[in-house]
Amino acid sequence: MAVVQKDDIKIWQRRERGKQFAIWAGYLTVTALFVYCFQLISEKTVWFFVLDAPRQAMDMASRMVPVKWSYMDVLWVAIWDTLNIATLGTVMAVILAIPTAYCAARNTTPSLYFVRPVALFIIVASRSINSLIWALILVAIVGPGVFAGVIAIGLRSIGFCAKLLYEAIEEIDENQVEAVTATGASNAQVTAYGIVPQVLPAFAGISVFRWDINIRESTVLGLVGAGGIGLQLNASITNLAWTQVSLILLVIIATVVVSEWVSAKIRHAII
């Protein structure tokens, strides 16, 4: 209990003096770092443009109304493509994430010193390269279109799914595995009856969660030519068709909110 003695009266304080100083020093460091970094950014900024921004924003907003609802006819296909990119990409990622996670989990990996680091590198590499960068590379390889988008989303999601899955595998109850092993089950049977039932709910939850994230990610893949609603967004912005842009933004919000709701419902039902 942090108490200071002051003229025979004990006064309660929330923290010990040393801890209070440490927290204060932490705040000081973060503030100093922030001010320093902001200064460096501000040197690279043309402040005239920034000061002009409110006027620009008003101008852009006024061009965005009224929303061109008739453009919706074109957008249905784009929405369908976007959903497909997200769903098929997630399916691909999940299929590839299972062996990766199996190799990365400490308790199931075939080799702790050789296979596990490789699996962990795959996970980190896939997580740190954004789907847009994957799409940039893939459009050059397989040509523009939905297919490139699916693969980009898939490659990007392997890391996320595999990471969460291998953490789930590491947290399983070893007693059940031991019990199944004690019946004389083969290695594959141990996996199927001892491990899979324990991680299946987590696995389903992870897939749905990633699907929800992928919907959001697949809205931008079109910017580099990989299909989906981003294609229309990019075209409308380049053509300065602002009434179409506002409709696309509304559609994106609606899609994302609905998918988030669906995924929350499914996860709630599973867990």
Partner: protein
Amino acid sequence: MTTTTLSRTWKKPPFIKSAFLRWTLGLAVAIYLALAFGTMEVNWTRVAEGIPRGQRFLAGFFPPDFISRWPEILDGLNESIWMTITSTVVGIALSIPIGLGAAKNLAPKPVYLFCRGILAVSRSFQEVIIAIFMVKLFGFGPFAGFLTLSIATIGFYGKLLAEDIEDIDPNQAEAVRATGASWFQWLNFAIQPQVLPRMIGLGLYRLDINFRESAIVGIVGGGGIGATLNTAFDRYELDSAAAILLIIIGIVMVVEYSSGYVRRWMQ
């Protein structure tokens, strides 16, 4: 007493218990997949052509060339780091009032709906879409990237903060309120200690995400290492691009390991 005859063979209990639901779901998935693959146009000749092209493309990545573009890479990295730090600080600072407003047990209904609306909108748009508009409004460079990442941070952090506040132990909050604490004292002594440990962890996690995202806001003109990467791709200097990608992977790995360490140490 009734005797039930047990079936001789044991079957694994299915994951979805209701048979009707199981079959309908399976059928729905099958129909969807058929439709999805049906409408996806894959130009296989283009893909076949693309594979040798892809091999050449990948061969261009090796060996990664760290040296010839090193000054530009360093510049981009610096910008990325500035953007990451400033946007995380500003984003978290702004998301605290919004997160408080979006917690159902704290805020009155109109405030709750308003704050939830802000969070939903800022979460709906991928960073790149926000970045396009920020670049249009504020001009090229790291300032646009900084604003983009700040907005994205608000959506992420505010939502998690609000959910965490909704999950707190109401008894503690009531106990502090019963002492006659003012609203701010109540926040400070009843709410904040309950959510702080998790929030610090999430803040570090967001720092990590912001660095990764700073690599792509540059593609649409938001500054940072993404701008360097995009230039490298545009000029077909693939060996430099490979070097940049490796650097990003390396930094993300370091940040991830150290933030995991810090989080364990905090708890």
